[in-house]
Subunit: 125 residues, 2 copies
């Protein structure tokens, strides 16, 4: 299946793209930063850093770990965190639908052949 | 200025995104793979590899170096190469327009504060 991925740059406040959004979704689903990080093959420290970056972009935390206790509760997305995911996914859907004619043409061009490596001799100029 | 960037995955034929498209545009403008590579801070070999990947995705060359001679001619985009750039940029424009309501909301959230690093104590769970 072909699909598009969106990166949105926010006026010098940083950017959000597929990695950060997937991380937020996984934290929301797993209720745990550690589990979300593992599912994405990244370290807890890196996941935490990304979550802090998103928080810095929007000026407030996107995850809430305050419900944890010993053997503890989990981490949940804040209302802001959920809103960011929702807006991004909706933007992605709208974008995919709007760009469908061009994507279909690109797909048709790509489908019109058997994928193979052409061996064209490099030439400097 | 905020903007979106698109990556388009083409059904197992590879993907095209901002880097490959910018490279094609620069080759078209400069008439030279070497100049385009330098402008993007990459090696000639890497640029050539990317151009071959795009060619493999679409089953035909996207650049034509055949006009070169000694002290030679340049490298031009093929009709296919120009078409790929045009379709991608049009897809990007349509996508940005369609996703504008969500992007505006995200921007508003990001603008509503002074960017700073919050120091929230990490907590494992």
């Amino acid at each position: 299946m072909s699909r598009i991925t969106l990166r949105i740059d926010l006026d010098g406040h940083g950017s959000i793209g597929p990695g950060k959004i997937r991380l937020l979704e996984l934290v929301g689903e797993a209720g745990s930063i550690q589990k979300a990080a593992s599912a994405m093959g990244m370290s807890y420290a890196h996941a935490w850093k990304l979550l802090q970056e998103i928080g810095a972009t929007f000026g407030a935390p996107v995850v809430d770990a305050s419900t944890g206790g010993r053997r503890g509760g989990g981490t949940q997305l804040t209302t802001l965190g959920k809103k960011v995911v929702e807006l991004y996914r909706r933007a992605e859907q709208r974008a995919a639908k709007a760009a469908e004619p061009e994507i279909d043409q690109l797909k048709k061009s790509a489908r019109g052949h058997t994928t193979h490596r052409r061996s064209i001799k490099p030439k400097k100029n």
